[in-house]
């Protein structure tokens, strides 16, 4: 407990030092500067971005992000009362995946995302709920229908929290289940800066979180713990059952540059993870080009094995927005599983095209090429590293 308190103090110190200037992370961080919107939490109710859109976000989705249309709920056919906000995300995906072996390349199509959002506001307080389906790419029976059946049994609540937030700027506090603000919150859970930092798919934790939004900075501190393992699947999470503290702060400069620092300490029975890093975004308005980068160092203590390892995970990408409604992106990723052990690193290159032809609709094309470490020779046998690629088409509709 004393160690946790020290870590919490350290995290607060990091944030405090940086809060002399700081801002957050969103599901579509590409829109941070390109849409003219300064803060991710302007478009999303969640302070860490993602999920249910605010009325500002719905306006932006029609006015500056999509080629045409209105982003209003139900396309404007009906508006909920002011105290209530509703929304939903549906994604259908088709992919081809090649990792070598007897069944590669494999092809599949499946319901990737089905999330329904609701927010009820009472004065300065709000209750926020996200319920969705856990997508399945490879059902046990291997059939297409297997990807669609049993959806009710796969329902889960990714987020549910109570938030006190009296205004768009200033302090806020929230308690419940959600992702703590940390680094760049990409929508793509496959990015290693999400996967290996404790923010992989369905790894939301129960948190007590607070922070502050200013015009050109923001800071957040979160104490987290996993749902009890005895919980019903509806509220369970996956990932390591770590408890600890996470902190994130971001500063915006010149209306085009954002620089952030993040730290997280998570302690579980079998292991502990102490990590920190930085992220940055830089929007080059004349070229309509956004650069984004994130890097983290992770000190991983494996208590049962009495072994420690240091890891490095990074993302560096660029997104071109040549015309309204179109984004073309490329990225480089690196994950070093153990910095002291040779040939345990991996590299990935990503390409992505997002098309927003009409408000509420998105078509996403994703390509990912992953390069393994060098080959390894044992005795007379050489095992070459196997490259892997995945191509994916997503059809996305948000209500």
């Amino acid at each position: 407990m004393a160690k946790l308190m020290r870590l919490g103090f350290f995290s607060l110190l990091v944030v405090g030092l940086f809060a002399a200037g700081a801002r957050p992370a969103a599901a579509y961080p590409q829109f941070q500067f390109s849409s003219g919107t300064a803060r991710c939490a302007q478009c999303h109710f969640s302070p860490s971005g993602g999920g249910l859109l605010t009325s500002w976000g719905r306006d932006e989705s029609g006015d500056s992000i999509s080629m045409a249309g209105s982003g209003a709920f139900l396309h404007g056919a009906w508006s909920p009362p002011a105290w209530l906000a509703l929304g939903a995300d549906f994604r259908f995906a088709a992919l081809t995946n090649n990792v070598g072996g007897a069944e590669s390349p494999e092809s599949a199509y499946f319901p990737m995302q089905f999330d329904v959002y609701a927010r009820a506001a009472f004065g300065d307080f709000s209750l926020n709920l996200t319920v969705g389906d856990r997508g399945v790419v490879r059902p046990d029976d291997g059939t297409i229908s297997g990807r669609f059946k049993d959806i009710p049994a796969r329902l889960l609540s990714k987020e549910h929290y109570l938030m006190w937030r009296p205004s768009a700027s200033g302090p806020y506090v929230r308690i419940g289940k959600f992702f703590a603000p940390y680094g760049i919150r990409f929508v793509e859970h496959t990015y290693w800066v999400r996967r290996y930092t404790g923010f992989n798919l369905y790894e939301e934790t129960y948190n007590l979180s607070g922070g502050y939004f200013a015009e050109d900075w923001e800071a957040h501190v979160t104490a987290f713990t996993p749902p009890p393992s005895s919980s019903p699947d509806f509220i369970r999470s996956v990932g390591q059952p770590e408890s600890g503290v996470a902190a994130f702060a971001e500063k915006r400069l010149f209306g085009a540059l954002a620089v952030g620092l993040q730290a997280r300490a998570g302690i579980a029975k079998e292991e502990a993870r102490y990590q920190g890093g930085a992220e940055a975004k830089y929007w080059v308005e004349p070229a309509k080009l956004l650069f984004m980068g994130e890097a983290n160092i992770i000190h991983h203590q494996l208590k049962l094995a009495s072994v420690n390892q240091d890891q490095f995970v990074s993302f560096l990408g660029a997104t071109l927005i040549p015309i309204k409604g179109l984004m073309v992106g490329a990225a480089y990723e690196r994950f070093q599983e153990d910095l002291s052990v040779a040939k345990t690193g991996r590299t990935a290159f990503d390409g992505q095209i997002n098309l927003f032809p009409y408000a509420h609709f998105e078509v996403v094309l994703v390509g990912r090429y992953q390069i393994p470490s060098a080959s390894v020779t044992t005795g007379t046998t050489t095992y070459p590293g196997t490259a892997a690629y995945v191509g994916m088409l997503q059809l996305h509709y948000y209500l």
């Binding site: 046990d140 889960l156 990932g239």
Partner: protein, 127 residues
């Protein structure tokens, strides 16, 4: 900011975010060839993910979410034959030899696979 400044900033970013790709110097040693390391450092982050072998999903009835549960899943169900990596289905799956690859989204580094093979050769104990 000028375009030249942008290039400088991006170059700096490339160094900081992209090219700090540490290339470790040594190989795994005997202290790593035990299940408590392999389970926590390799198997859980690679296999016990959302819709695969997590405690919630348990794809194909295989649960790898922690050390003891994962050990039972692999050894008691004969994916691992102690002292015999050549007969262990797990090794065929990791190398996609005559079967599909596990994990299905990215091959493990061969160094990791060889470490798992070494652990099996050493008797595949729950150590």
């Amino acid at each position: 900011m000028s375009f030249r400044c942008a290039i400088k900033a991006v170059s700096l970013g490339a160094v900081v975010f992209g090219l700090f790709a540490g290339c470790g110097g040594s190989a795994y040693d005997s202290s790593h060839a035990k299940w408590s390391f392999i389970s926590t450092a390799i198997i859980e982050p690679s296999c016990a993910t959302a819709s695969c072998h997590s405690d919630v999903a348990q794809k194909a009835g295989v649960n790898l979410y922690n050390k003891d549960v994962g050990y039972n899943a692999l050894v008691k169900r004969l994916f691992v034959v102690p002292s015999n990596p050549q007969a262990s289905e797990l090794m065929f799956l990791l190398r996609a030899q005559g079967t599909r690859r596990m994990p299905p989204d990215f091959p493990l580094p061969e160094e990791d696979i060889q470490l798992i093979g070494q652990w099996i050769t050493n008797g595949a104990m729950n150590n």
